[in-house]
Amino acid sequence: MEMQSANLKTALILATIALAFFIGVIVRHWLW
């Protein structure tokens, strides 16, 4: 259980980074 929650935490951080890059690159060129 402990391992699963550690895995989930790592995955969420990585997924957030990926999503930020995806949205960031579009928003950056939309606004400026």
Partner: protein, 529 residues
């Protein structure tokens, strides 16, 4: 007696009862080995699809003049060859290796997210189908080059939409795969396996997965903007609407250059496992290998505009990107030095994996050197879009990535299947590949230096001889790959039984498991000292 019986029963139960057989085994599997196999079969299939397209290109270029294809179809061939080889063959092949090897090498029972692993793989066949199906829609397949530069890509027919969707899906698959790999490596290593005790293949994949997380979303963003420019009235890359087509190139290459390292770092990892095993010596300079890999990955983010010297940029920009690019030669040189130093005074034998590894060092280094030449801005301005560039990146991607994939396959296939491969066939495969690879791509340096442009179906008469040689080499190379398929098929079907550790000098954890390994490896984590 009872305890032994209970143990046997549990083992048998585990091995056979938990998963369906036949087709459903492969569709529903969450086992890292099954999924690794699926990735490798998929990559091999796409390698042959992309290879057929390459032979279509080389058939057309066998002689000057238009022989077989309309010029626009020729552009479709070059584009699809690139897209399929990059996204359908090389990348999935390395993910296949990661799936098979990483859990076994770090002493984990499986990947961290087994169901997501299944999903990552099963996204690929629909994506590949979309990509290949684009040949059959009005206007044909994407023909803007694998770089799908705007404004070409914003103007093409529906084939481009299929290509964009395929890239989106493959990108999602890669990101999920990377999350899985990073999580597995960070959280599921066996007790005692500190980061600096991890096998080099695991290290290179960890760094590659970070690269993927950082740049695949950027590609997804770029192609999403192309899509909205095409269909939803935006003007990201449309100069007439206030957009900037050059911006597409910047975004694309911010993805594209790290992508080059995504395709070569796992290859470095494989070579770093193979050479110590056959030199019967520990890898020379382990920690410098790790730091070199990380340095290459970091530098890969600040060199993208060397693909755009002819687009125009300030002299300061040209100098920055030129020197930053040249800097990559330093960590790469460290790696080549360490591989050679590992071999130095080793008790070397030259089985097929070692042959491919040595071939890799020799020919990949040549590709590295031509990369260094292309990094020089004034030289690049002359050689941009010539066959010199085609020669360069095929030396890196075929003799680099693909030879490493072959080295890794021959190295680990005794573990995967429990059978030894046919050594004679393997050696024939290596030598024919090595010879025909050079027959195909070495003359392209001369063609490029003489000014032959890439992505053009016709050429001036003075280029005829070298093109004929290259085309003969390409068909020879393509046919030689059938030996690989035969060798792998024979090995899966039977052959001499492989020992637990068939390679004397191999010392990573997967060699402590039987060949083939049990369905669930390392249910009890091993302890690493």
């Amino acid at each position: 007696m009872d305890a032994a019986h209970a143990h046997d029963h549990a083992h048998g139960h585990d091995d056979h009862a938990h998963h369906p057989s036949g087709l459903m085994r492969w569709i529903t599997t969450t086992n890292h080995k099954d999924i690794g196999t699926l990735y490798l079969i998929f990559a091999c299939t796409m390698f042959f699809v992309g290879g057929v397209l390459a032979l279509g290109i080389r058939a057309e270029l066998f002689q000057p003049g238009l022989q077989f294809w309309r010029p626009d179809f020729f552009n479709e061939l070059t584009t699809m060859h690139g897209l399929i080889m990059v996204f359908g063959a090389i990348m999935p092949a390395f993910v296949g290796f990661a799936n098979w090897q990483i859990p076994m090498m770090i002493g984990a029972p499986d990947m961290a997210f087994a169901r997501m692993n299944n999903w990552s793989f099963w996204l690929l066949p629909p994506a590949a189908t979309l990509l290949v199906a684009s040949f059959f829609v009005p206007g044909g397949a994407p023909a803007a080059g694998w770089t799908i530069y705007a404004p070409l890509s914003t103007q093409m027919g529906p084939g481009m939409d299929l290509g964009i969707f395929a890239l989106h899906i493959m990108g999602a698959s890669s990101i999920m795969g990377s999350i899985n790999i990073i999580t597995t490596i960070l959280n599921m290593r066996a007790p005692g396996m500190t980061m600096m005790k991890m096998p080099l293949f695991v290290w290179t994949w960890l760094i590659t997965a970070y690269l993927l997380i950082a740049v695949m979303p950027v590609l997804a963003g770029a192609v999403t903007m192309v899509l909205t420019d095409r269909h939803f009235g935006t003007n990201f890359f449309n100069a007439a609407g206030g957009g900037d087509p050059v911006m597409f190139q910047h975004i694309f290459w911010f993805f594209g250059h790290p992508e080059v390292y995504i395709m070569i770092l796992p290859a470095f990892g494989i070579i770093s496992q193979v050479i110590p095993a056959f030199a019967r010596k520990p890898l020379f300079g382990y920690s410098s290998m790790v730091y070199a890999t990380a340095s290459i990955a970091i530098l890969s983010f600040i060199v993208w505009a060397h693909h755009m010297f002819t687009v125009g940029m300030p002299a300061a920009g040209q100098l920055f990107f030129m020197y930053a690019t040249m800097l990559i030669a330093v960590p790469t040189g460290v790696k080549v030095f360490n591989w050679i130093a590992t071999m130095w005074k080793g008790s070397m034998t030259f089985e097929t994996p070692m042959l491919f590894a040595c071939g890799f060092i020799f020919v990949f280094s040549m590709g590295g050197f031509t990369g260094l030449i292309l990094a020089i801005t004034p030289v690049d301005i002359q050689l941009q879009d010539t066959y010199y560039v085609v020669a360069h990146f095929h030396y890196v991607l075929v003799a680099g990535s693909l030879f490493a994939i072959f080295a890794g396959t021959y190295f680990w296939i005794p573990k995967w299947t429990g059978h030894m491969y046919d050594e004679t066939l393997g050696k024939w495969h290596f030598w024919l590949s090595m010879i025909f690879f050079n027959v195909t791509f070495f003359p392209m340096h001369f063609l490029g230096l003489a000014g032959m442009p890439r992505r053009i179906p016709d050429y001036a008469l003075q280029f005829a001889d070298f093109n004929m040689v290259a085309s003969i080499g390409a068909f020879g190379f393509g046919l030689s790959q059938l030996l690989f398929v035969i060798g792998v098929y024979k090995c899966i079907k039977g052959g001499e039984k492989a020992a637990q550790k068939p390679w004397e000098g191999a010392d990573t954890l997967e060699w402590t498991l039987p060949s083939p390994p049990p369905y669930h490896s390392f249910e009890t984590p091993p302890t690493v000292k």
